[in-house]
Amino acid sequence: MELLYDLKRTALATIAKALLISLCAITIYNLVSFSQSTSQAVDRSFSSNAEKGLYSLVDRLIDPDAFAEFRESSSNVKSLAEFYSQLNVNDSIELISVFDQTIPIVDARGDNSFDYGYGTEMSTRGKYLDEASGKEVMNVKSIQLNQRAFDFYNLEVSSGETIRWNQIDYSNPTTPVLLGADYRGLYAVGDTLEGNFYSKKTIFTVVGFLEPDQSIFYKGDINFYLDSYLVVPYPPSIVDFPQEETYFYGILSFAMINSVIAADSSFSTDDVLDVLLKASQSSGFDQYSLLNVPTYLVQFSLAKRLITENLSLLIYIEVVLVASTLVGVVALNQFTHHRRKGQIRIAWTLGQRRSLLAGTTLTNTAIEYSLVALFSGAVILSLPNQSPESLLPVALLLVVAFVADAASQQRVLTSFLSNTSKENV
C-alpha cells in the first residue's frame, strides 16, 4: 500500500530516470558493438601482417604485335608459366595475383548490379544474345586470384566451403568458384554456371559464398569490395598446359603474371629484384619490370586511421553522455527523495522499523531498474546492429549501476533517518 502511494507521487520521476538510464545503456551498447566491429575490421584488413611494401609486377610486351607473337609459341608461354610457378612457391615474397577479367555467363541470374559496367563510366550492357553461342549472356563482374591473394586479403567464406587450391586445374570438367555475398539467394552451393573465360567455354561450380564486405587492394583502391563478384581461383601452376590450348593459356599466363608482390619492409627493392632475376634465369622469361606501389601503404594507414578516429570520437561522445546521465540521475534521485521525505518521516516517527523503510527504498530502486531492463532490452533487441557479445558488458554495467544506486539511496535514507531522530530528540 505504502509502495503504491509512493509510486503515485514519484511515477513521473521514476519513468524519467528509467528512460535516462536506458538511453545511456543503449548508447553504451552501441559503442561496445562499434568497438568490436572496429577491431574486426582492423584484424581483417589492417593487421600488421598486411602492412607490407607492395610492388607491381608487369610484363614489358606493351606492343600488341610483340604480345601476340610471343603468345603464339607454346615454349614462350611455358617459360612464362614456369616464371609464375617459381615466384608463386617462393617464401621470401608473396606473389599476389589478381585480375578483374569479366566473364560472360549464360542465363545469368541477378540484376544489372552484377554487370561488369555497373557503377563505372562504361555503363551496363545487361543481358544480350551472344552470337557465337546463340545463348543469352551477361558480362558479370569477376575477379580471378591465386591463393596468396586470397590469404593476403584475409578473404573469408561464410557458407559452403573454401577453395581447395591444390586441386584447381582448368582441364577438369568444372572449376570451383566462390560468389560474393550479394549473390546469396540467387545461386546455391552446388549450382553450376556456364561461362566464357578468355574464349574458353568453362563450367563453374559454386562451392561457397564470401562473407559480406570482403575487400582487396586493387587498381590503387584499398576499398575494392567483392560482394557482387564471381571469384575464380587460379591454379597453383599451369606449366603442364595442353599444347592445343596455347591461345587460352597464353592469355591466362599474362593475366597471372601481371600481379603485385608483397614483401616485408625489411626487404629492399633490390632483394625483390634478386628473387625475380633468379626466377627469370631458370625459367627463361625476362620481359618483366617492377614498379613500386607507394599508394598501398599510404591508403592502408589512412583508412586504418579513419576507422580508429571514428572510435575515439565515439568514446569521447559517450563520456559526455554518461556524465550527463549521471547528473540527471542524481538530480532525479534528489527530487524523488524530496517527494518521499514527508512520508518517511511520519512512518519513522510512528515507529516503523528501519529495515522495513530500507526495504521499501530498495524495492523502489529495483522497480526503477526493472523498467530500465525492460526499456533498454526492448530497444536493443530491435536495433539493426545485433551483437550478442556486446550485451554482456552492458548488462554487467547495469548491474553495477543498480548496486551503486541502491547503496547511495540507502545511505541517503540512513542519514535522513538519523537527522530526523536528532530533530525529534
Binding site: L20, F34, G119, I307, N310, L314, I317, G328
Partner: protein, 312 residues
C-alpha cells in the same frame, strides 16, 4: 543563510545546464567530424550517391526544378582524382577541409585541392590550373595534411558540365537520390557503395547515437526546467505573500533562468569554437546551443507560471 542556500541551488542548476549544453555542442561537433570522416573515406560521396549516365543538363534541370539539395560530380581525369563539382540547394554537410573555407555561392570559378596537388602561388593566393584556366584555391581537402584526398582536386565551374552531351555524373544527396530514382529508369543509374565506412557498423551506430544523444538533451532540458521551478518555489512563495504581483515574480524568475542558461552556454560555445573543424559548423552548433538555452527558458517559464497561477 537563505542566500547561501540559493547560491548553492543556482550552482547546481547551472552545472546541469552546462552539462547538457556541452552535450549538445559535442553532438554537433561529433556529427560534423563523423560526416567529414565518412566523406573523406569515401571519395567525398555520402551513402546517398548515385552514378548516372545522361546528359548533365537533363539531370541538373530535374534536380533544380525540385529544388533539392545535392552535390553533383563529374570526373575530369581517367583515375577520377580531378572532378568538377556543382552544389545545388543548401547542403547541410560540409566538405572535409583543413585549411580555407567551403565553396560559397559567389565562387564562379574556384577549386579545392589535396595537399599533394601542385598549385601556383600568386601574391599569396594559390591557383590550380586546369585546361588553361586558373582556379582560385579556396581550401585544402582532407581533415589533415595526410589524407585519403591528398591527390584529389575539386573544381567548381558550371562550364565543365557540358550541356546536351551524354556524360556520367555522380549525384549525391538523400533527396536527390530518391528524385533520380523516380525520374530516371533503373538502367540509368548505379548506386555507389560506401567505402571505408562499410568496414565497420558506423553507418548504423552513428545515427542511433545521435538520436539518443538528442533525446538525452531534450530530457535534460525538461529536468533542468523542472528543477529550476522547484528551486525558485520557496522564494516565490515568500514574494507572493509579501504582495508582489504574479507577473513581477515570473519576470524576476525568468531573468534569473535566462542569466543562468546564457552563462552556462558560454563554455559550450567556447568548446565548439575550439573543436569545430569548419567555421560554418561552429555557427550552426552555437545557434543550436542558444536555441537550447531559449528552450530551457521557455520550458521553465511554462512550469513556473503554472505554479504561480495555481498558487492562492
Amino acid at each position: 543563510m537563505a542566500n547561501l542556500l540559493n547560491a548553492q541551488k543556482t550552482i547546481r542548476v547551472a552545472i546541469l545546464f552546462l552539462l547538457f549544453t556541452v552535450l549538445s555542442a559535442s553532438l554537433n561537433i561529433y556529427s560534423e567530424i563523423q560526416q567529414g570522416i565518412t566523406l573523406e573515406g569515401n571519395r567525398l560521396h555520402s551513402a546517398h550517391a548515385l552514378l548516372i549516365t545522361d546528359s548533365s543538363d537533363q539531370v541538373l534541370s530535374s534536380l533544380t526544378t525540385e529544388n533539392v539539395n545535392a552535390r553533383v560530380y563529374r570526373s575530369l581525369s581517367p583515375d577520377g582524382r580531378i572532378r568538377a563539382i556543382l552544389e545545388l540547394g543548401n547542403n547541410s554537410t560540409f566538405l572535409p577541409i583543413h585549411d580555407g573555407r567551403q565553396f560559397s555561392a559567389n565562387d564562379v570559378q574556384a577549386a579545392m585541392v589535396g595537399s599533394d596537388v601542385p598549385v601556383q602561388t600568386v601574391e599569396g593566393e594559390s591557383f590550380y590550373e586546369y585546361q588553361g584556366t586558373q582556379y582560385l584555391v579556396v581550401a585544402t581537402l582532407g581533415f589533415g595534411e595526410r589524407s585519403l584526398l591528398s591527390e584529389d582536386v575539386l573544381i567548381r565551374d558550371r562550364a565543365l558540365f557540358s550541356p546536351g552531351v551524354l556524360e556520367t555524373v555522380v549525384v549525391d544527396g538523400a533527396e536527390a537520390e530518391s528524385q533520380i530514382m523516380r525520374e530516371f529508369g533503373e538502367d540509368a543509374y548505379a548506386q555507389l557503395a560506401s567505402a571505408t565506412g562499410r568496414r565497420t557498423n558506423i553507418d548504423y551506430v552513428s545515427p542511433i547515437l545521435l538520436g539518443f544523444g538528442w533525446s538525452l538533451v531534450s530530457l535534460g532540458c525538461v529536468i533542468a526546467a523542472l528543477l529550476m521551478a522547484r528551486y525558485t518555489r520557496p522564494l516565490d512563495t515568500v514574494r507572493h505573500q509579501l504582495g508582489h504581483t504574479r507577473w513581477w515574480i515570473l519576470r524576476s524568475d525568468l531573468f534569473k533562468v535566462t542569466t543562468i542558461s546564457l552563462v552556462s552556454s558560454a563554455p559550450a560555445s567556447i568548446l565548439v569554437l575550439m573543436m569545430a573543424r569548419a567555421p560554418e559548423t561552429a555557427g550552426v552548433a552555437i545557434a543550436a546551443i542558444l536555441a537550447q538555452a531559449i528552450l530551457i527558458v521557455v520550458l521553465s517559464g511554462i512550469v513556473i507560471s503554472y505554479r504561480i497561477w495555481s498558487q492562492r
